[in-house]
């Protein structure tokens, strides 16, 4: 008998046995159980959503009743809310604000991104970078006008739908509006000059223009951030909401962390959208040359996205810490109360991001000759990533049926319950970051071999750093189970520091070690399986979705307050909706964003199309 025969028989028998057992069990169950009615309540509880609908209906009826009086018009200051038809005010504002923010993030990210690439091109003299930066900037002008339009829409809707609240916010922030508008004006000037002046200015002048554009753009974001962070953690006002100091109102607890968090996230987001654009172009490319270019562009975009993404959790820690510092109540609502399950969803999203990013790197190794020697490591990396992902996504008290509760003897599983706590999750996240970076290192060196004399020692040192960092992370994680809470919370800081230190040390060694490295295998750009490009798009979708979700948390944390602790939300929408509802709205927003971004891609692609008349002559 041939070897393959034996193989087929062996494997077939094993799988067949399992399938048979499964089918047999299922059959037995079907024939054993008389059908019993499922347990279904025939009267749903009165949920806040229903209550809200009922309230707004009642308000409508009341309005109808009072119609004759209102005919002469109601003075503005008496109106607290107006209703948006169909979806309601909250969802309308939510969608418009989110789209505005997504585009704004894109518009702010692309210049940063283009500037970095242009700088690289300038210093390395590689023309490819310059071309790439220019191509990115092409996406800007359409996005910029869309952002402005959405922003204007948002402002109008706020004034119309939430007049009292908007009035208050305008009162507090009145001194910031003029600088904002001026900056906006400057932004458009710099932006168009930067784009249209490509190649027309001397390189240094153009770069200066790029820097100015970014400074102005960041300024716009920082001002806008002050408004929304004020809503979350107001300061500079008295208890009753009277303004004491505008500067204090701007410089509130969450302002700086949000600025930093958004800046980094914008870079990552811009990178991922640029990569998605490249992937889109790659898939529709007709020539090898084009494919090579877009493959490379996608790689750079994704690289920037992932590098920016790695420190994001730390910025997130800072934000969360400031939220706790501002209001323990809000912090606990976030982590332990109504939003605690949202972080399980977040874990799923970030887990998907990590897996996607790593998969892209591994696939990328396929286009490098000589990467074969590293292929065997993939499964171990994947194993670590999957386990960390699973730990991170493990809920502290899972959803259970009564039978399961009885079997577990409580709402915590004796084994899994230990994975659901902060110590385990921090450890998992830090290990995820380390592993992903390891993946990247392997990718980086797959085509090259160091020539320096201390290469072996350098590699050993790098490995040692990784092991030491992982050791610190794990042992601190374990220690977390045995120390009091006050100590435990502090443990995440050394964990993070050890990971960051490891990243820095390893990178430094790597750069030194591969200086003048010998190339063993050429990177064949464009030789990428199509699946990798779909992964880039998947990463972009995931990233957008994640931004939408986290935006909801930040905003939803205020619960029934417009301005936390100052202006109460008394509208029928004052309740906090279910996570299922929120995820649906986020999904719709993400889809809308991608429809619009497709429009942007199409519009910006028009310029490179052949002239209509030229085509006409070709045909004739």
């Amino acid at each position: 008998m041939s070897k393959s025969r034996i193989l087929v028989i062996g494997v077939g028998a094993f799988i067949g046995l399992i399938v048979f057992a499964f089918v047999a069990r299922q059959t037995l169950v079907v024939f054993d159980h008389a059908y019993r009615t499922p347990v279904e309540a025939d009267h749903p509880d009165r949920t806040p959503a229903m209550q809200g609908e009922a309230d707004s209906r009642a308000a409508q009826a009341e309005k109808q009743r009072k119609q004759p009086l209102a005919e002469h018009g109601v003075p503005l200051k008496d109106v607290e809310y107006r209703a948006f038809p169909g979806v309601g005010s909250r969802v309308a504002i939510w969608s418009v604000a989110q789209l505005h923010l997504l585009f704004a993030a894109f518009v702010l990210a692309v210049p940063i991104f283009a500037l970095i690439i242009e700088l690289i091109g300038y210093f390395t003299g590689d023309k490819r970078y310059d071309r790439l930066a220019h191509e990115f900037t092409k996406l800007l002008s359409v996005s910029f006008s869309l952002t402005a339009t959405l922003g204007a829409g948002l402002t109008f809707m706020l004034i119309i739908l939430y007049p009292r609240f908007t009035q208050y916010l305008m009162h507090v922030f009145s001194p910031t509006f003029l600088p904002y508008v001026l900056l906006f004006f400057l932004e458009s000037g710099f932006l168009y000059a930067y784009y249209y002046g490509w190649g027309k200015f001397p390189p240094v002048a153009h770069l200066t223009l790029g820097i100015a554009l970014n400074v102005v753009g960041t300024g716009i974001m920082v001002i806008a951030n002050s408004w929304l962070t004020f809503m979350m953690s107001p300061s500079g006002v008295s208890e009753s909401g009277a303004l004491i100091s505008t500067w204090q109102a701007v410089d509130n607890y969450t302002w700086m962390p949000i600025n930093v968090h958004r800046f980094i996230a914008n870079v990552a987001f811009g990178g991922s959208i640029a990569a998605a654009y490249a992937a889109f172009k790659f898939l529709h490319a007709t020539s090898d040359e084009e494919r090579a270019h877009y493959d490379w562009m996608g790689y750079i975009g994704n690289f920037v996205a992932i590098i920016a993404f790695l420190p994001l959790p730390f910025a997130g820690y800072w934000l969360a810490k400031e939220i706790y510092a501002y209001s323990q109540t809000m912090g606990l609502t976030m982590m332990g109360g109504a939003f605690s399950w949202l972080f399980i969803i977040q874990a799923v999203l970030i887990g998907c991001l990590f897996i996607g990013a790593n998969l892209y790197l591994w696939l990328g190794m396929g286009r490098i000759e000589g990467a074969q020697r590293y292929k065997g490591y993939i499964k171990y990396l994947l194993f670590v990533i999957a386990v960390c992902f699973a730990v991170w996504a493990t809920p502290r008290s899972p959803i259970t049926t009564p039978v399961e509760v009885r079997e577990m003897g409580g709402s915590f599983h004796p084994v899994l319950g230990k994975l659901g706590v902060m110590s385990a999750k921090n450890t998992a996240v830090n290990l995820l970051i380390l592993t992903t970076y390891l993946s990247f290192l392997i990718y980086r060196r797959s085509g090259i071999t160091p020539t320096v004399s201390w290469a072996r020692r350098g590699k050993a040192l790098q490995l040692l750093t990784f092991i030491a960092s992982a050791g610190v992370v794990i042992s601190l994680g374990v220690l977390g189970y045995f120390v009091p809470t006050t100590v435990r919370i502090g443990l995440s800081v050394p964990q993070v520091i050890s990971v960051l230190a490891a990243l820095v040390v390893v990178t430094a060694i790597d750069i030194l070690m591969f200086r003048g490295a010998e190339t063993v295998g050429e990177t064949r750009w464009g030789q990428m399986p199509a699946i990798s490009q779909y992964i880039l798009i998947f990463i972009a979708v995931t990233f957008t979705w994640l931004m939408g979700l986290m935006g909801y948390v930040r905003s939803g944390l205020r619960q029934h307050w417009h301005v936390y602790g100052v202006i109460r939300d008394t509208s029928p929408d004052a309740f906090t909706p279910t996570l299922g509802f929120a995820t649906k709205v986020v999904s719709v927003n993400v889809l809308l964003f991608f429809i619009l971004i497709a429009l942007v891609f199409w519009l910006s692609g028009l310029s490179s199309k052949k002239d209509w008349r030229a085509r006409g002559t070709d045909a004739s």
Binding site: Y35, T37, P38, V39, E40, A41, D42, H43, G366, Q527
Partner: protein, 562 residues
């Protein structure tokens, strides 16, 4: 004593003469002194608290135990394989020690080593001289393989049952409600209950047909249950066994975990009686004595209650059935009545404790009553003859259904014994001496107040040893918890036996159970099953079509190397 011994000799003599001397019996296995001594250690550690250090059945626990712990000095043993009046074999004793007797505090001692059990048996044998007398030994009765069981045999058994007048104690339908049941006493003059033949699992000797046959063939020494070895042929005995066997549904009680109320479209017509509940799932729930709050019941007569429930859009009805030795339709009853305090009241215990400090704690601090005392009474703990006889001055039978007054919003239910001050309970109460139901609001076992009985209906009937009580109420009523479809509701039950002087806290009760109220309309499984199957099939077809289109020309494998 002398007299009884003489009787045994007469009874046993024929066997002793007829049967060859069993080798084992001839040896008079009384064990060595060392074994008896070892048995004594085990006995005093594990047995003496009930059976007494002297083996006289007057241990610490004895006062509240019904049936009383065995008095080993009497030499009478109930569960044996030997003929009536004879001593048990070692194996008989071993079996009882190992397996225990169901529904008594003698639970069984599976953990003792074989050696310990043997030693204990030797030690038990020292309590009476009878074991030294070869005359009291007899060859065990051979219990044949049970013949096949059939309905015809059971029918004939019924004739034997009536002919032998079993019903005078065990009742016409075997529910232990015979006319002479309340007045039965054992040889020591202690009251004793006839077995409830519909509940095989309570048979002290075991529920199997062989066990029942053994009881008929050997009798239960010391009790009014005689042996029928002489008066009935082997076939007749098996027929009787089959009849008894047919009275009960199963060897085990199969206690339910929940009650399901069936949704019906028709009116809930109380005049239809039990027929109204046809098709509803019966739930048999265990009752236990209320020994938690003062006024305790240590040995309630009712051990289980069968509950059925149906509802339509407007109303919900409950059928409660339990076996009762005698219908007590006179006197009164109420959950608010004061029940007699048992001996372990705070005051008495306090006085006991003070005496402990001064004097010997071994001094008999237990009630000084003696087994066989004329005032001793199966049915009551307070020893008053008046309550035992029930009747005009006494208490009637009663039953109650208990719900939380309002659906608990958390998971904490009201305290299961008539609620607590924070979480009151709604008690539907039927005093079976009165035609109309009552309602009470319980805020604790000592704080039960009458409530508004409007809207609550009740009918009751007693037939051949079983009470059937039907309660009916509107599902939604202003002053009570609304009962909605598709929901679970906590429910508990209590039964008062007038014959035992039950009232107030002294009663049999259940813990909280849950009743599921079926929704009016339910979803069948077929539609979702079909949907899912079709969807899966569709996806498969699309996938196959896609793959086939791509690989039209046989398997073109993607290139392994680009």
């Amino acid at each position: 004593m002398k007299n009884a011994a003489w009787k045994w000799i007469v009874l046993v003599a024929p066997f002793v003469m007829l049967l060859p001397e069993p080798a084992a019996a001839a040896e008079l296995e009384l064990g060595t002194d060392a074994q008896q001594k070892a048995g004594k250690v085990v006995y005093e550690r594990y047995c003496s608290q009930c059976h007494g250090t002297e083996g006289d059945g007057k241990g610490y626990a004895a006062s509240h135990l019904r049936p009383r712990p065995r008095d080993f000095t009497s030499g009478k043993f109930k569960i044996r394989t030997t003929p009536s009046g004879a001593l048990p074999t070692d194996d008989d004793l071993r079996r009882v020690i190992r397996d225990g007797m169901p529904y008594t505090t003698m639970i069984g001692w599976p953990n003792l080593s074989d050696q310990d059990v043997t030693n204990v048996i030797y030690y038990i044998k020292t309590f009476t001289k009878d074991f030294k007398n070869r005359d009291y030994y007899a060859q065990p009765i051979a219990i044949p393989e049970p013949p096949p069981h059939d309905a015809d045999s059971a029918k004939k058994g019924r004739e034997v049952y009536l002919q032998m007048e079993c019903h005078r104690c065990h009742g016409d339908q075997g529910r232990a409600d015979g006319a002479s049941a309340p007045s039965l006493v054992n040889d020591a003059g202690e009251p004793i209950l006839p077995a409830d033949l519909t509940k095989r699992w309570t048979f002290r000797g075991g529920p199997a047909r062989r066990d029942i046959y053994r009881t008929f063939s050997t009798g239960l020494n010391g009790t009014p249950m005689p042996s029928y070895a002489d008066s009935l042929t082997d076939t007749q005995r098996w027929q009787l066994v089959d009849y008894v066997y047919s009275l009960g549904a199963a060897d085990t009680p199969n206690y339910a975990e929940r009650v399901v109320s069936r949704s019906i479209a028709d009116d809930l017509d109380m005049t239809k009686g039990e027929a109204l509940f046809d098709g509803a799932e019966g739930a048999f729930l265990p009752l236990f004595g209320q020994i938690v709050e003062p006024g305790r019941a240590f040995h309630p007569n009712a051990t289980g209650i069968e509950v059925k429930a149906v509802h339509n859009r407007e109303h919900i009805a409950f059928l409660l059935r339990w076996n009762d030795m005698r219908a007590d339709r006179t006197g009164e009853n109420s959950p608010a009545l004061e029940a007699p305090e048992t001996t372990e009241t705070v005051e008495e215990a306090a006085s006991q404790a003070s005496s402990t400090e001064e004097s010997d704690p071994f001094a008999d601090a237990v009630e000084p009553e003696v087994a066989g005392d004329a005032t001793d009474d199966f049915f009551s703990d307070d020893g008053s003859a008046e309550t035992a006889s029930g009747g005009e001055a006494g208490f009637s039978d009663a039953v109650a259904v208990q719900f939380p007054a309002a659906l608990p919003d958390g998971i904490r239910l009201p305290y299961f014994i008539f609620g607590d001050p924070d979480n009151p309970v709604d008690i539907w109460f039927a005093d079976l001496a009165k035609p109309a139901p009552q309602r009470f609001v319980g805020r604790g076992s000592r704080s039960v107040a009458p409530g508004n009985p409007d809207g609550l209906e009740m009918t009751a009937s007693y037939d051949a040893g079983v009470w059937s009580v039907i309660f009916k109420r509107k599902r939604r009523q202003e002053d009570a918890m609304a009962i909605e479809g598709g929901q679970w509701y906590p429910v508990a039950f209590s039964v008062w036996d007038g014959l035992s002087g039950d009232r107030g806290n002294k009663r049999a009760l259940t813990r909280w159970y849950y009743i599921y109220v079926e929704p009016a309309e339910t979803v069948g499984p077929l539609r979702p099953m079909a949907k899912a199957a079709v969807a899966t099939f569709g996806i498969e077809i699309v996938l196959i079509a896609l793959i086939r289109r791509k690989h039209k020309n046989g398997v073109s494998i993607p290139p392994t190397n680009p």
